[in-house]
Amino acid sequence: MQVTVNGEAAELAEGATVAGLVAQRSAGHSRVAVALNGGVVPRSSWERTTLSPGDTVEVLAPTAGG
């Protein structure tokens, strides 16, 4: 199915979860946060949160800031 991840179109398998997406994207990052369609997905819900076609996901990680 077609979703948008970090601003770009991505093709995911049906039933793909946030947990799976994070595992696939966040190599080397421990503290990751996920926004789904403008809301926060708590880490505790990653496993049970399945993505749907057209979803917009942001997978974020720490960086330097002022």
């Binding site: 990052h29 503290r31 800031g65 002022g66």
Partner: protein, 270 residues
């Protein structure tokens, strides 16, 4: 306050004056931003030389984010992380970013930034007040980056922000404190800690901020983009402590003319 005569290092005088912010007590009154450092090693050396206990970090898409090494460095330095909402232009974005940061960093502290202009990166007071109210209601410890408008600062304090962080000048401009009078007015109008944020270019700017009554100073570029970040970090540590001590010491009044420091009585006729 007193310094025992055997005290070899006057920095000892500062530890008698702890800094309470958001219910926690800090020894250092210098908050350091991590952006702009030439390398992780330079960052670590700067963090250590600055003596800071609270450093700002941000969230970006994983592809663009620095790898975990930066957090490892900061953990090793034993500093508390303060996520920011840099880049947000609306209350909605800022609130969501704060909540994402709470997830990522496991802290409900946030340096709240809501930018109203891309060139000057000046805060938008309307969106800022809106976001601050939502985040305070949501249990965050909110440290808002604001302009130097005393009325906005007091509104932020009245909303329950843990401190107000007025600017000295635009972010990264190095122009110092453009309006000391406004900072002094803010100090009079609010009861929460005042942290001078943005605009600091060199040590005397930081000292002046403390002399104006600020409780702390937050800076990033002035240290991370200095020719020698570690040296400037040490300079800022001294400047913040010196400025704080000066504010407490009770400076001499300004006089239009002179007052002799050497007694004139007993001057010989030569």
């Amino acid at each position: 306050m007193t310094v025992t005569e055997t005290d070899p290092v006057p920095t000892g005088t500062a530890v008698t004056d702890p800094f309470v912010l958001g219910g926690r007590t800090f020894t250092s009154r210098l908050l350091l931003g991590t952006g702009g450092a030439p390398s992780l090693e330079a960052l670590e050396r700067a963090v250590r030389a600055s003596g800071t206990e609270l450093v700002t970090v941000a969230l970006r898409r994983v592809e663009a984010a620095s790898d975990g090494a930066m957090l490892a460095v900061l953990d090793r330095c034993g500093v508390q992380l303060l996520p920011n909402t840099a880049g947000c232009a609306t209350a909605r974005e800022a609130v969501l970013t704060a909540r994402l940061a709470r997830e990522a960093f496991g802290t409900d502290w946030v340096k709240l930034e809501v930018i109203g202009d891309e060139d000057t990166l000046l805060p938008d007071p309307v969106e800022l007040l809106d976001a601050a109210e939502q985040l305070v209601d949501d249990g965050f410890t909110v440290l808002p980056y604001t302009g130097d408008d005393p009325v906005v600062a007091r509104r932020l304090a009245d909303l329950g922000c843990a401190a107000v962080m007025p600017l000295g000048a635009p972010i990264g401009s190095g122009l110092g404190i453009r309006n000391p009078h406004a900072i002094a007015l803010i100090r009079e109008l609010v009861d929460v800690p005042v942290i001078l944020d943005a605009g600091i270019g060199t040590a005397s700017d930081a000292a002046l901020a403390m002399e104006l009554g600020c409780d702390g100073v937050l800076l990033a570029t002035a240290v991370t983009r200095a020719r020698e970040p570690e040296t400037m970090a040490a300079a800022m540590r001294h400047a913040v402590e010196g400025g704080r001590l000066a504010a407490r010491a009770g400076r001499i009044p300004r006089r239009f003319s002179a007052r002799a420091s050497t007694q004139m009585q007993g001057l010989p006729e030569l």
